[in-house]
């Protein structure tokens, strides 16, 4: 993150100069294992074949699908509930439904979107409990303004996670589904069973509220050209 700095200073006058350095990075931000996008498209035929076998009560197929998704779901659900035991309960509830309802999957979406939609519905109450902490329940860590690298590494994650807990659960989940899991706007609408415009509105408010909760964020400027 050396390119991004909170250090105060005059903003470059021309947007094109600011943006030039961002574009120079050939592959953009890091792309780890994701649920959406190319990853979902590539894995979907395999997942659909497994769903067909599960619909025929094939336990080996259920295990294969479970092991393919467990890590991703556990990481996501532990993140948004702050409890692994709860995450595991939601995962097993989700795959219980997958086992019971595999025959009902019509293939209108990626399997990963279908599974995430089930997990969302199974975990809804837990998400609401875990999110939107009242002020003071989980104080935001102090954001140092004097340091040269205050917005980096573990400290950045700590601030951000504390701020995310202050967002209403629906707004936080839209951010998590887009940024943590890589889902598209349309996929998120399907997972949360709401119109696409609702997803856009939730994302809009989440971004605006994060700026209020994280004043340090507002100080981040695009990279200067090398």
């Amino acid at each position: 993150m050396s390119a991004l700095s909170l250090a105060p200073g005059p903003r470059p006058r021309r947007a094109s100069a600011e943006y030039a350095a961002v574009k120079l990075e050939p592959h953009g931000p890091s792309r780890p294992e994701r649920a959406g996008g190319a990853s979902a498209a590539a894995s979907d035929p395999r997942d659909r074949a497994l769903i067909e076998r599960i619909a025929a009560h094939d336990r080996a197929a259920l295990k294969e699908l479970y092991l393919l998704y467990h890590r991703r779901l556990a990481r996501f659900l532990t993140r948004v509930t702050s409890r692994y035991d709860l995450a595991e309960e939601i995962i097993n509830d989700t795959f219980w439904v997958v086992w019971q309802r595999a025959g009902d999957f019509r293939g209108a979406s990626y399997v990963s979107t279908w599974i995430m939609g089930i997990a969302y519905r199974r975990g809804l109450k837990a998400f609401k409990r875990a999110s939107f902490m009242p002020a003071g329940a989980h104080d935001l860590p102090e954001q140092g303004g004097e340091s040269h690298e205050p917005w980096s590494g573990a400290e950045r994650r700590e601030w951000l996670n504390a701020a995310l807990e202050r967002l209403p659960s629906e707004q936080r989940l839209v951010l998590e589904l887009a940024y943590h899991l890589g889902h598209s706007c349309e996929e998120i609408a399907e997972i949360m069973n709401c119109p696409v415009n609702t997803v856009k509105t939730r994302m809009f408010h989440a971004r605006k509220k994060l700026k209020v909760l994280l004043p340090a964020l507002a100080g981040i400027e695009p990279e200067s050209p090398p």
């Binding site: 947007a15 792309r31 219980w96 086992w99 950045r156 940024y179 943590h180 890589g182 889902h183």
Partner: protein, 213 residues
């Protein structure tokens, strides 16, 4: 076109798409148009830089390991304790469940009637908490899981053959509690009834309910 000079709607639409440019979910044309817009829009370029910071801070922590196999074993145990899911016989299962509910209701009504008949006037009401031993409520009790193929007629026949009625259930796992008729619940008779149940192809599981120590 700067943020100030761009039509409000177009600029707002570009600004709105930034998260999906970051996660790689815009189409090629949409991404290209947004990149072009950011060349000249300081506000969107700054928003992109800020959201990229958030995006990167929210990436999965690859160092955390999870016990996936152990978690699956818990799911397996849960599946083993429950009836198999319906595939095409959804209607048959629904009909079976409705019939079982009716039988359970009739059983409970009969049991209630028997209690009223056999309770002396003025006797203190008997209360049972969830933690009390189940067997304390009446005759010997058995926990049974049936297959979804069992019909109402077969269920009635089976219950008659062992002089028992449904006193509870089904639980979420499909477990029924049967109570053996009073006077027919000696250890030998209970063992005989269990043998009948276990020999039946439509009984997956039958065990006596043991009283708490």
């Amino acid at each position: 076109m700067s943020a100030d000079s761009a039509p409000g709607g177009a600029h707002a639409a570009f600004w709105e798409r930034i998260p999906w440019l970051l996660n790689g979910r815009l189409s090629g044309a949409e991404a290209q148009a947004l990149h072009a817009h950011m060349q000249n829009c300081a506000e969107c370029a700054r928003e992109y830089a800020q959201q990229r910071c958030v995006f990167e801070a929210m990436q999965p922590d690859e160092s955390i390991a999870f016990a996936s196999e152990a978690a699956f074993q818990k799911l397996t145990a849960r599946l083993d304790a429950a009836p198999a899911p319906a595939r095409t016989e959804t209607f048959a299962v629904a009909r079976w469940l409705a019939a079982a509910s009716i039988v359970a209701a009739l059983g409970l009504a009969a049991w209630g009637g028997w209690i009223v008949e056999h309770t002396p006037a003025g006797a203190p009401a008997a209360y049972r908490t969830l933690t009390a031993p189940a067997a304390a409520a009446g005759g010997a009790q058995l926990r049974v899981v049936f297959t979804p193929n069992l019909t109402l007629a077969e269920l009635e026949r089976l219950l008659h053959s062992i002089d028992a009625y449904i006193s509870n259930g089904p639980t979420d796992s499909g477990v029924f509690t049967l109570t053996v008729a009073p006077g027919r619940d000696s250890a030998l008779e209970v063992a005989q009834r269990l043998a009948i149940l276990r020999a039946d192809a439509d009984v997956r599981f039958a065990e006596p309910v043991t009283a708490a120590p």
